[in-house]
Symmetry: C3
Subunit: 271 residues, 3 copies
């Protein structure tokens, strides 16, 4: 099987749960600039909740699809660093993803054409990594060099190591029974918008805004097209910017007012 040759955009995005109070993020950027000062480093975010793989997978899914072909995405949320979990590179939709094989790329791997390679850090790649590697910071010592060399085009996806299977976490899918859809809240953003796992595009015969949404033990909320369809302070549901149904409050926080969090059950009823 032949993979598309990646044109090199020389862009490397960075995503992690490291925060920026310590030197971890800076060290990874240093390694990338050491590989090639002309690499274009783009921060996606380093404030993911510590070791929250699901939040990392969702951030990558939301943000990376907008980048040009050939972008390399370096992502590190890595509670298992120093254990047996493999380091991998995922090729998906003409993007490359570099990081640990722990489910961080679960959203990305929903692409049926995605390919995965395990990083062979004992072969020819070894000489492209720092000589004294730590056992606790693969972001700096393995993922950053691999991402950097891939972005320069001097190492190709095929050179990384053997094809492999990657770990994919269960992405909860809503369950449809007749006129009812049982769903959950998968994320709450900074504004208190509650993103569900309902993607109307994947539901046969379901059009936007044709139902109502009932929050577990809470109010029934109309499914509308935009905030302006309800009055100030009222609740609403709409298809958010990531393509998923969201529960929101006009000029307020739905999460605070309705006490919603990740995992809360939500029911959608159709006429």
């Amino acid at each position: 099987m032949q993979m598309t040759v990646f044109k090199s955009a020389r862009i490397v995005t960075l995503t992690s749960d490291f925060g920026t109070t310590d030197g971890y993020v800076g060290a990874m950027k240093g390694v990338l600039k050491q590989v090639a000062p002309s690499l274009r480093i783009v921060d996606l975010g380093h404030e993911l909740p510590p070791q929250d793989i699901d939040a990392g997978s969702a951030l990558l899914s939301h943000a990376t699809r907008w980048f040009p072909w050939g972008t390399v995405h370096l992502a590190v949320v890595d509670p298992g660093v120093g254990t047996a979990r493999a380091p991998i590179v995922v090729a998906s939709r003409n993007h490359l993803f570099v990081g640990p094989d722990n489910g961080l790329f679960s959203h990305v791997l929903q692409d049926p054409h995605a390919q995965v390679r395990a990083i062979d850090d004992r072969g020819s790649l070894r000489s492209l990594m720092p000589p004294n590697r730590s056992s606790t910071f693969h972001g700096r010592d393995m993922f950053a060099p691999v991402a950097g060399w891939l972005a320069t085009g001097m190492v190709r996806f095929q050179d990384v190591g053997p094809l492999a299977q990657a770990h994919v976490r269960d992405l909860a899918v809503p369950i449809r029974m007749g006129n009812t859809l049982s769903a959950i809240v998968t994320a709450v953003d900074r504004f208190g918008n509650c993103i569900t796992n309902v993607n109307p595009q994947t539901l046969p015969k379901l059009k936007d805004s044709e139902g109502v949404v009932q929050v577990q033990g809470g109010p029934v909320v109309p499914w509308v097209n935009t905030y302006a369809d309800v009055e100030h302070g009222e609740f609403l549901a709409l298809v958010g910017s990531g393509g998923f149904l969201e529960i929101a409050r006009r000029d307020g926080s739905a999460a605070d007012a309705l006490k919603l969090g990740r995992g809360t059950s939500v029911t959608i009823r159709f006429p």
Copy 2:
């Protein structure tokens, strides 16, 4: 009326209240890089308090003036997204500002020569935006493409849409009565310095450090030239780096010690 042709610095700054835990900021950066991988993205800050338009306007005023001519500033604090508020581009002092018309550019619009254009997203610009726009994320679907194309120079300010009037929020100005100036604290920074709305340069016949400052219900503070003019732990007032009078404490937080916050009244008395 003819506007200066902007030389293109190809720099796009980003300011928002999105935080970086979700994918919103990353998605905007992806769109910018999709427009042109060579655009130079510079983060000003994404940790503005959610939907705090005044803080966003102040940050833009403080930071953007230092950038070279031709810089494009993309700013999104947008509680009214999805309602009727217009998307605009402001041209001011050879910089361009792209974002919602909700007062976010109030400081920038104090320039009497500023011009405003409403983004015509149904005309020729439409083909330069993503095909399926969301109603809740104009930062990604409208402002980022417009900012990106402006920075490349391939779309000019004149191409954006018709001239328009922009919404400007009241910027409280101090009131002078004889030897007394009634002012307020407009911002508190991370160090507890309290920035007021007193800009000595705009006050006739007022020289720096010729008066004293009285905090409402608090102490009288000397107006000095620099921190070293008072002892460790003492309060002082001086003209801060943004050009406004600040109340500070040497080696400490004036805001904490004096219980000052945004809106607190302050009186300046002259000899």
Copy 3:
């Protein structure tokens, strides 16, 4: 004495305690881009605890060593701005560091070949800085222009000002008595890993993982090579990515569980 000529990588890293809610960081970036739009700005971190010089020094030590030769590191944690503390440039290991002389470069200055120059802001450099300098924001008005011009290569280290001595803070070193090493925790990272001041490479006749670590009033912890050497939830000590002994907990926070913080005493015992 002759100093290596720096090749210019045109990279400027930024480190500060400014946060990004105010315009301070943005203003520094604007000045750098004003000096040369092509400068490559890399954020190391702006969320250092306010005025925490030791944390800044540690971050610089951890992160900057990974950057290519010729990188300029602009760092501002500056409680003494506006007082008599000098502005300096440090040349160390083919990197340049620009900031206040207050101990912020204590780690960097452990290099015996480091050189320091005081910035002469009244000589020829004066014309390369903004005309109206504030007394409270040398980051924008002095350090950013100097860092920018150094990165372009148009100002050389020798042009900055006279050679000087820099202020170095005491870096606590562990004390060895026979089979026992008295050490302290110098930092706690976002994951609850507790970094000590024990650098096994600098201890004669001490190999990695040959002892045990006792936390003051706490448990005895085995010194191992990697997380996978202990079971889920157990404590361990290992040499971390910065080269120092760390106390960690597999899949948890050692700091929380053991109530460790900066300054906590730790004893290492050898067989």
